[in-house]
Symmetry: C2
Subunit: 307 residues, 2 copies
């Protein structure tokens, strides 16, 4: 059971849900008890991010299959943040979670190989040790292949941006070329790479990032990309609902992991959870928000089949 | 003289050339004298990269205006590499060089802001302290604006991938939409952002990455993008010649920085320099290769006007 998609399927079946908890620490959103002692000191903020993310992981590890640290928030803190990021990834693995690092990296061939070797696979081959990485497609097929090669060798996964959830994503992704939008051209490349790297469960080592804010395109892409796992951002804080993401799943309730970040990790500041748990019991708020999202997906989408 | 493009123009006029030396350390290409003591130990390799890049910087600081560390090669080494990267950037600044970090980052709005704050501007506002950063455009205008905002506030620059030098760059970048290739759509956005952020010299805080391997498109884009500085990769090792990049410059010999990485930093392994300097005098090989590239651009392109 070495192939990334097969490991993902096993984890989803074990947890009976496809929830991907995003670890997006932000200094001004942390619960009071874990805020940085010295907010102007990068090491102190990095320590707070480490403590907070470990606290989230300790709660969600019993509930969900996979977490997604957002590299940007750690990189913002300089080298101290990167040390904390590596520690957060290690802690998630120690708690049995899969880790998808959201870094949206890419470059031309030999440089892309350096990113792939650095981030993908288990230590010591990879110092960061992520199970999967998000990647940007603008540089074309020869920039994606090094990631696919390393992913295949190391049982890791790659998620390529196809149709993103932000309003400006339309600007280039929806431009029509040869009768179809750019994102479908990217989707065709991704599906081709996925088909070439299939595991026992039928899904490839390469998947697609496809936003929850475009329900119709999600269903359309599901049809066009039968071997591609979908990472679906935009749920919750960005407005996507369980019904919106239903089309991302296959008939067995597989094929998609649905991401929520702020709405789960900062649940202590959402009215419904703040009233129940206050700021001090923020981990209970994380747990309740995670359970609520699992229930929503389990009643409104084909993920119900996982139960 | 705070604006990035104005600082770049001043540095180019002082050095009388537009050469951008790429710092792309690779463990198996380093001169013998600076190779890692323990090649399997990431800290040892990171120490070697630090020593090597500082050695390159010590030579080229007297010759060129700007250097470009490639983030991927440092990230490949995990946190130890990131600490070395920060040190390399500091050393380049201490020697009076501008620093363009090649990280090809991007994400949706608030996450893009984290990247921008982390990488752009002088310390302590930015822990990494780069003067400029490369950015990928697939996510659209609202993903670029956070970089532009932070760049404007901090006197930094942003270089957006427009037409890349790798063979696969064509795959999406040349797709025709509404009668023109995708890269021209991206170019129009970049020029618009550049025009809105002009400094005293007429160039904006936003520029474009446009490969040397497409000489005709370089000249065409120069015409379409009068306020956008060009970062031109692909010179030397990737096959671009001085004549190929001539079209990237404006009539004053400004408007483009031309990157060479391997052909300069690993000059000790190129026949013509190896015969003159051997492996031990690798820094003299770096100096000679840099001077040769300066001379080529100074005779075959409008950069001659800088003399």
């Amino acid at each position: 059971m070495y192939h990334f998609a097969d490991r993902l399927i096993a984890a989803i079946r074990r947890c009976r849900n496809p929830v991907l908890v995003g670890l997006d620490p932000r200094a001004d959103s942390l619960p009071q008890g874990v805020q940085a002692a010295r907010p102007d000191d990068l090491q102190s903020v990095a320590d707070a991010y480490r403590t907070f993310c470990r606290g989230v992981i300790d709660v969600v590890a019993a509930l969900v299959p996979i977490v997604k640290p957002q590299a940007a928030f750690f990189e913002e803190l300089g080298p101290a943040g990167m040390v904390a990021l590596a520690d957060v990834i290690r802690h998630a693995h120690a708690r049995g979670l899969l880790v998808l690092l959201d870094g949206k990296r890419n470059d031309i061939g030999s440089t892309a190989t350096a990113y792939a070797r650095g981030y993908l696979g288990a230590p010591p081959a990879s110092p960061w040790g992520a199970d999967a990485l998000t990647v940007s497609p603008y540089l074309g097929d020869d920039s994606l292949e090094p990631f696919v090669d390393v992913a295949r060798q190391r049982g890791a996964g790659v998620f390529v941006l196809v149709k993103t959830s932000n309003p400006g994503g339309k600007q280039f992704q929806d431009l029509s070329a040869d009768g179809r939008p750019l994102y479908q051209h990217v989707a065709a490349l991704v599906e081709n790479l996925a088909s070439q790297t299939r595991g026992d469960g039928g899904y490839g080592a390469v998947g697609a990032v496809t936003g929850a804010t475009y329900p119709q395109q999600l269903a359309e892409l599901r049809g066009l990309m039968p071997h591609s796992w979908f990472l679906v951002p935009g749920y919750g804080a960005q407005g996507g609902t369980a019904r919106d993401v239903a089309g991302a799943f296959d008939a067995q309730g597989l094929g998609a992991i649905v991401n929520s970040s702020r709405a789960i990790i900062f649940a202590h500041s959402r009215k419904e959870y703040r009233e129940r748990f206050g700021d001090a019991r923020w981990q209970e708020a994380v747990e309740a928000a995670t359970r609520d999202m699992i229930a929503e997906l389990g009643s409104e989408t084909p993920a119900a089949k996982l139960n």
